[in-house]
């Protein structure tokens, strides 16, 4: 006869524990870590570039970890801007996990009191389930992807503290239904701030950075 054993353990408990340790060691050094999520082509790298320019102009330091299935196109683009970027190629894995971050951190120069942006794999499903040591998640959606994303992928919006809506200059051309999108975002994630960005002109980036700075203060309080 079999014996029933009550377990009730989170299946990703090992990842959660590693992520917690990463977060503790980074935040003890005053590093603010943002996990940037979004589908392929949403504008994650453009957002990070726009923020990086402003962060450096303000005298702060930052580093970027780029997650991709394969290729280092984004990392090279960031390095051309003089940004300290490190590439993780997951070789097909659909998300970054805490062990991957743990492995690259010693190879990356992350100054005390600096910013760390981690660009996750382009995917609105899997990355939502894995904490990787971040202070918060930021989900990026382009108007070209359509307003239905919060309805189709509510989980990733629910886990995110803010949603950056990119390519807002294309709203009319794409027939973007903003009211429908906003209602979906409010349902999936009542707490999430909606932050528009025009990646071409950089319009909106100042406000996003301001929002991030105040989120950093809130989380440190």
């Amino acid at each position: 006869m079999g014996i029933d054993i009550v377990v009730k353990r989170a299946i990703y408990e090992e990842n959660d524990a590693r992520a917690k340790a990463i977060h503790e060691s980074l935040s003890a050094r005053g590093v603010f870590t943002v996990n940037v999520l979004g589908g392929p082509g949403a504008g994650k790298t453009s957002l990070i570039s726009a923020l990086a320019r402003r962060i450096r102009a303000s005298g702060d330091q930052l580093a970027v970890i780029e997650g991709d299935l394969a290729s280092d196109i984004d990392t090279r683009a960031l390095r051309e801007l003089g940004i300290d970027a490190y590439q993780i190629e997951t070789g097909g894995d659909c998300h970054l996990n805490a062990a991957m971050i743990e492995a690259v951190l010693p190879r990356l120069r992350v100054e005390d009191g600096s910013w760390l942006f981690i660009e996750n794999i382009g995917n609105l499903v899997c990355p939502a389930e894995f904490v990787i040591g971040e202070d918060l998640k930021l989900v990026v959606v382009g108007v070209s992807e359509g307003g239905d994303k919060p309805y189709k992928y509510p989980f990733i919006f629910n886990k995110s503290a803010a949603c950056v809506l990119t390519k807002v200059d294309l709203k009319a051309a794409m027939g973007f239904d903003e009211a429908f999108f906003q209602a979906g975002l409010a349902a999936a994630s009542p707490q999430a701030a909606l932050l528009p960005l025009n990646g071409r002109t950089g319009e909106g980036a100042d406000r996003i950075l301001e929002w991030l700075r105040s989120a950093r203060e809130r989380l440190r309080a």
């Binding site: 006869m1 079999g2 014996i3 029933d4 054993i5 009550v6 377990v7 009730k8 353990r9 989170a10 299946i11 990703y12 408990e13 090992e14 894995d93 659909c94 998300h95 996990n97 499903v125 899997c126 389930e129 239905d148 309805y151 189709k152 509510p154 989980f155 629910n158 209602a183 979906g184 409010a186 349902a187 999936a188 994630s189 009542p190």
Partner: protein
Amino acid sequence: MHEASAAASILRIALEEASRRGATRVTRLRVVAGEATGYMEESLAFFLGVLSKGGAAEGAALELSCVKTRLRCRSCGAEFDRRGSSFACPSCGGPGELTGAGDEFYLDSIEIEGGSEWASTSS
């Protein structure tokens, strides 16, 4: 989805719990997965089958309980299961918001054989 890594984690936890009780076999794995996590039972069962070969959990049956995505209406406060892609409340049509029920993913319990020290507590 990432059922392979999920299956590996399930087996690691199950084998750890089993060995702490001196069990020789794990015969059943009961997993709770929220609808929002999107895990597919067939795929999870497939990877569990592959990854458990040759170990104490080989051939263990998977029982996956799916928890529906639960919403609460912001207008009337009613709680309801999400239907299709809508967030709307079925009673008043108001906007529903996620309650957190439906995004769980954990190993709830296992069935083991050969764990004598716990045999007395089983019914």
